[in-house]
Amino acid sequence: MRDAAAPATPAVPPAGDRAAVLEVTGLRKEFGELVAVDGVSFSLPPAGSLAIVGESGSGKTTIARMIVGLERPTAGAITACGADRSRPARSAADRRRRGREVQIVFQDPYTSLDPRQTAEETLAEVIRLHHRWPPARRRERVAELTGMVGLDARQARSVPRALSGGQRQRVAIARALAAEPRVLILDESVAALDVSIQAQVLNLLADIRDRTGVSYILISHDLAVVRQLTDEVIVMRRGKVVEQGPTGQVLDHPCHPYTQRLRASVPRPGWKPQMVAAAAGEAGSG
């Protein structure tokens, strides 16, 4: 399923664990009169990587919020690791279990990290929540996580304010991984990063998937980032899926006029914005 150019083979999942880690069927969300998400279905294999692409108002972030339990679906089913999660968790233990299934990293790590907690403290707190480990084992795991995301000892002891945007996003990724989730949702997680830092974080995410077998859902408006990090893509417009398939195929040969227009809107050498309007006219999707 991966693009032919991609060399990395995802880590082989444990035997008997080949079933989808996340299954979404007929997902629907209404906010009053507005249908934000309408009949969305997809399935994510272990160590898979799926992109949800669309512009503002397409419903992509609402899907993420339903999967992590921040919104309750109007209809449809969400199954993670075989367990239903379309209804709210019934107990703290149930919530913790769900946290070990799916974690999320948001766009702006500055507003999602506690300003008074160092990176190490942030990670230790998550580990304490999920494991009754002695302090030494906990410290070992904190060091392992900070090493995995490439933070040095000084950065690990820093509060968010003292870190750069790229470093803060590494902390947010490490915090999400601390719960050892099977699925990591990346909601525009690299969108705010400078180009040179974004490349570091994208390489890091590819390494982590190879090493841990975690699956990704990448929510993004950036088709080049989607090409780099994902195997499958769904393209959304106004709450509905307009196109779905292997990432390389959808981006190289988009079938739906909207996907064609999205693809044509990305600046590249020789690109002129006037071409997009012309193409939209031909495709009949003004």
Partner: protein, 354 residues
């Protein structure tokens, strides 16, 4: 068609050796260092760089919008006149000639005032145009940016317009005073990609039709190359390269430009590994004295790069601030390599931010 920035003669905007220092916690810190840049009448020049590189500060210096207490050396001339000396009516006149378009239109409109007030304010108060005529000119200008029902839009409030529509209103506002130069600071960054294409098409068409010069600020090298005649690349408060846009990707003159283009993922193929630039971008005040600012992250740096501050040199029709620019001709840019270079970071540990 466009060569390197010719000093003086005929330029609409001439920025020469501009250094700006701001007071931060009692200390004066540089945010721009020796920035020189010319824009000819009708020419679009891109200004590209990562956060903290000084691109917005350059536009603010040109627009006379620097924070209070900023210390400026060097000169900025518009149509031959030194901009630093303008005040009162002359400064208002200058601001009519040099219009700014910002990234976030909502932050630059008053939410409790109607679009019509906003659009006609400069005409009525600065140019003494009667209200009825100002309104008619606003409706005409809205039609030019592709908003047909202008009269209705003038009665609406900013929150009733989508981001793309509001940014078109901002473009109309910028053009209403009859400027000769546009300063566009990331005007489409907050917009969806299809909306970006629509807004850029309108801006590009109008600019060409009206023969306006433009300084176009963006972090997107590809967008700058597509829209602008020439592109300037900034790093740590300095311009490190100015190049004809058509040659920027295929034949860059500075290792930073080449590294920036190579680090960006490609929509047409999945790279085995992105060629990330190690470390993080420096701000102007963090840059070492007497050395190349990019040397710590540069794959081509030698000992002399860490011991000498490079000046700008002319090379093959462009400008480069690299000591090795001549040696490296033909080695930068072009098709990306498929393997990481020896000594380049292979794992996340080495790739960590500095």
């Amino acid at each position: 068609m466009t060569g390197p920035a010719a000093a003086g003669t005929g330029a609409l905007l001439e920025v020469s050796g501009v250094t700006v220092r701001l007071a931060v916690e009692g200390a004066r810190r540089p945010v721009l260092r020796e920035v020189s840049l010319d824009i000819r009448p009708g020419e679009a020049v891109g200004l590209v760089g990562e956060s903290g590189s000084g691109k917005s500060m350059t536009a603010r210096a040109v627009g006379r919008l620097l924070p209070r207490g900023a210390e400026v050396t060097g000169t900025i001339r518009f149509a031959g006149r030194d901009v630093a000396g303008l005040s009162g009516a002359e400064l208002r006149g200058y601001r009519g000639q040099v219009a700014m378009i910002f990234q976030d239109p909502r932050a630059h409109t008053n939410p409790v005032r109607r679009i019509g007030d906003f659009l006609t304010e400069a005409l009525r108060t600065n140019q003494g145009v009667p209200a009825r005529e100002a309104t008619q000119r606003a409706v005409d200008m809205l039609a030019q940016v592709g908003i047909e029902d202008g009269a209705r839009r003038l009665r609406q409030y900013p929150h009733q317009l989508s981001g793309g529509l509001l940014q078109r209103v901002m473009i109309a506002a910028a053009l209403l005073t009859g400027p000769r130069l546009l300063l566009a600071d990331e005007p489409t960054t907050a917009l969806d990609v299809t909306t970006q294409a629509e807004v850029m098409a309108i801006l590009d068409d109008l600019r060409r039709r009206l023969g306006l010069g433009m300084l176009f600020i963006t972090h997107d090298l590809e967008l700058a190359a597509a829209i602008c005649d020439r592109t300037a690349v900034m790093y740590a408060g300095q311009i490190v390269e100015i190049r004809e846009s058509a040659l920027l990707h295929s034949d860059p003159l500075h290792p930073y430009t080449a590294a920036l283009a190579a680090a960006r993922p490609d929509i047409a193929r999945t790279a085995p590994r992105l060629r990330a630039i190690p470390g993080r971008p420096l701000s102007a005040f963090e840059a070492p004295e007497g050395a190349c600012s990019f040397a710590p992250r540069c794959a081509h740096a030698e000992d002399r790069c860490r011991a000498t501050a490079p000046g700008i040199i002319e090379l093959d029709g462009g400008l480069s601030r690299c000591l090795r620019a001549r040696d490296l001709r033909g080695q930068l840019g072009g098709e990306p390599e498929h393997e990481a270079r020896p000594g380049q970071p292979a794992g996340p540990l080495e790739a960590a931010d500095a």
